[in-house]
Symmetry: C2
């Protein structure tokens, strides 16, 4: 038995997220179907996490066990010739049998992209959130600093019964302008359901002067979702990479 | 009566080109319908030219006459709130009544984008042509130089009965790499039907060593489409801008 990890890029626009669901098109279902077709085995993918409907990925990490002796290069070519144009495999690598793409200190980096310009653009519509109003970047940067570290993010967690603890660690968070875009990047060991989009929605309220940067600290202590800002739209979010200890 | 010019951006993926056609979705039809809805007049658009099905535009120039006193800013906002997400108006300006976006030494700039990398990307699939094989850029640059100037481009013209002359002038043509992309930019006063895509298809044959750069001169003298390379796919082509004397 071998254990192979795949780094996968996808445009999430037409998918109901990564994870298999009944009666919905998901990236995991398409990948599993294509792997079964190539390897003639009942492949079951392990994933570095779920992504929500409409969220994109440049480097989602998944893995699976196989009895096949196929080379990484041949598997990558076969996958990319059979997968639809909005899903592509970037890398195939061999990992230890004990590997799990979700555990072992996996570090995930998300990027949220805003088009912060008075006019919308047809070419940005799928991968950015259009936000025409001016944003106070220095206030957003100060607010972002309050999210850094190991905290209870219950105020930024959508209802989800699966998670026992709402304590997570944000290792890095940055807000920068590269006109006409504003990028918000967040790196951490794990994220609660819709946590990144809820942080972005709250940072946008700071950026337009509706909240003070210092409010974030109090907001975290509230541990109540109702006090944070709205969930930012899925289309602006992209899972950039998953870095792993065993790599 | 006023004459207004619109600079329009569109993602051409789902359109049968710019120009109105029976039983097909076109950008002109959508723009005219939306203008009529806003201005309650029977608007007829003049265009800087056609674009083929699937071709994109960052700055297509069109114009129309109206009795309305609406301000440019208000018209732009109304259009962008009613147009579909894959079409946007970038600029509205007043032009002389005698203006025609196609004539008066209008200069058009096209960009063709190739993704020249071993792997395809979901995010590039709509706006680039995937070309995984290595390309000899210096040969392509030499070949491109032979297209410059006032020439008979009959060898690069798709069949089209409307055009009386196949003489056109290319003012500027460049080939450059900005990894993973290769950009081919062409500027001229007018282009024959599929001329840019036929030039790109021929440059690609030079880039992969199937033709010598010097062949281009002979090819132009043949005045026969059968001797040139294939038509490059529409998705990689974008009309960047139309610059006009009266502006």
């Amino acid at each position: 038995m071998r254990h192979l990890a795949l780094t996968v890029s996808y445009d999430g626009t037409r998918y109901a997220g990564f994870q298999v669901q009944k009666n919905a098109l998901t990236v995991q279902a398409i990948l599993q179907k294509t792997l079964r077709q190539i390897l003639k085995e009942n492949i079951r993918l392990l994933s570095s996490g779920r992504t929500d409907a409409g969220v994109h990925a440049l480097g989602h990490l998944v893995s699976f066990k196989t009895a096949s002796a196929i080379s990484g290069g041949a598997l990558k070519r076969a996958l990319n010739s059979l997968l639809p144009p909005d899903v592509a495999v970037v890398k195939v690598e061999s990992v230890p049998l004990s590997f799990h793409p979700r555990f072992d200190k996996a570090l995930k980096t998300y990027r949220y992209t805003l088009r912060n310009h008075p006019s919308r653009s047809p070419f940005d519509r799928l991968y950015t959130t259009f936000y025409p109003r001016p944003l106070d970047l220095s206030a957003m940067k100060r607010a972002a600093g309050h999210f850094k570290g190991r905290k209870n993010f219950k105020s930024f967690q959508a209802k989800d019964k699966k998670e026992r603890s709402s304590i997570r660690q944000i290792r890095r968070i940055s807000v920068r302008r590269h006109s006409p875009y504003v990028f918000i990047e967040i790196e951490g060991n794990g994220f609660l359901y819709k946590m990144v989009r809820n942080i972005v929605g709250t940072l946008l309220e700071v950026g337009r002067g509706r909240r003070k940067p210092e409010e974030i600290r109090r907001l975290l202590l509230k541990k109540d979702r109702r006090f944070a800002g709205p969930t930012a739209p899925a289309r602006g979010l992209c899972l950039l990479k998953v870095t792993h200890r065993s790599r």
